[in-house]
Symmetry: C2
Subunit: 158 residues, 2 copies
DNA sequence: CCATATCGTGATGATACTTCACTATCACCC
DNA sequence: GGGTGATAGTGAAGTATCATCACGATATGG
């Protein structure tokens, strides 16, 4: 009865392996998972204020300050004054960082294909539907749990 | 052309959601992800030396010292002298921690079932095969990458 | 019995986060 | 205009998880 391997175990192993691969990829460079996340977001969202980054990445604005400091020092991003708001700064990727991120995006897609290629062709459609269904269900569960807590706390106020 | 959602994205989202759920679960208690990992390992492996823990969890022995310190202070584990080796200590779960871990194991299995329940019955077998295949493939890839690096470094010596 | 490896830990430091306090600015409203 | 209150970013201080290096205590194998 000790520890049958569940689907969840497998899914967690996958993400663990991926993270390890990412860490290995950037060993030696000044890029770290958290800093890479910032770059990744900037590719998708374009030049952003630090506040916007903090909101999208769900971390404190103070934390973004430190991450951008490091990325700026290593030449991955630039801080420019916001044209309409003198309080804010716009963080944007440097050309070389943009190039790097496109490479990473290609690698990411390629890895995704490789992994899908490991699935028997006859299973692929069902597999994709299954992954989507699990992600959706889990998202709902987490959302409900978090809303529950918020509601409990907000309950006193309302 | 900007960012089609890949399988890999979905898999990473799943693990991200799960981690967030775990963190929420233990908010307020003295348990943290890293400390929980130690407890989880002890359930599977039984009383262990800190060195064994460090090896299995792939972290430095020094780090284990700190994690066990915290777990011991909170009453989750006990440190006992190793019967055959006066250098080593045996770390074992307290009764209440063992109980807690069994609960967690039940919850984990239950969540796994719930997630699998979100997959259409006709897709389930293919989905399970697919998840296994992807995990296997990724494990091979990471292993090869790490072996490559080790080989490169060991190459000078041999 | 001595050289060497192993087990744990103190010291020190990096990264990734937090909250709190504070400044500079913006936006609104009378 | 001149407050007034929200917002953008950052300094200060603290926590958790990791790493490396040095060191003492012990085991082990000639």
């Amino acid at each position: 009865m000790d520890a049958p391997v569940t689907v969840l175990d497998r899914l967690l192993e996958i993400s663990d392996l991926f993270q390890r691969d990412l860490a290995r990829e950037f060993a030696g460079s000044s890029l770290t998972p958290a800093r890479t996340r910032v770059l990744w977001d900037l590719v998708h969202s374009g030049p952003s204020t630090q506040h916007a980054l903090a909101t999208r990445l769900e971390v404190s604005p103070r934390n973004i300050t430190g991450l951008v400091d490091a990325l700026e020092a290593s030449g991955y991003v630039r801080r420019e004054p916001h044209p309409d708001d003198r309080r804010a700064v716009l963080v944007s990727l440097t050309a070389s960082a943009a190039e790097l991120m496109h490479e990473m995006q290609r690698d990411h897609a390629e890895l995704s294909d490789t992994l899908l290629g490991a699935v028997a062709p006859a299973d692929r459609d069902a597999f994709l539907r299954g992954v989507g269904a699990v992600a959706d269900r889990l998202r709902d569960l987490v959302e409900a749990a978090e809303a529950g807590r918020s509601a409990a706390r907000a309950g006193v106020d309302r």
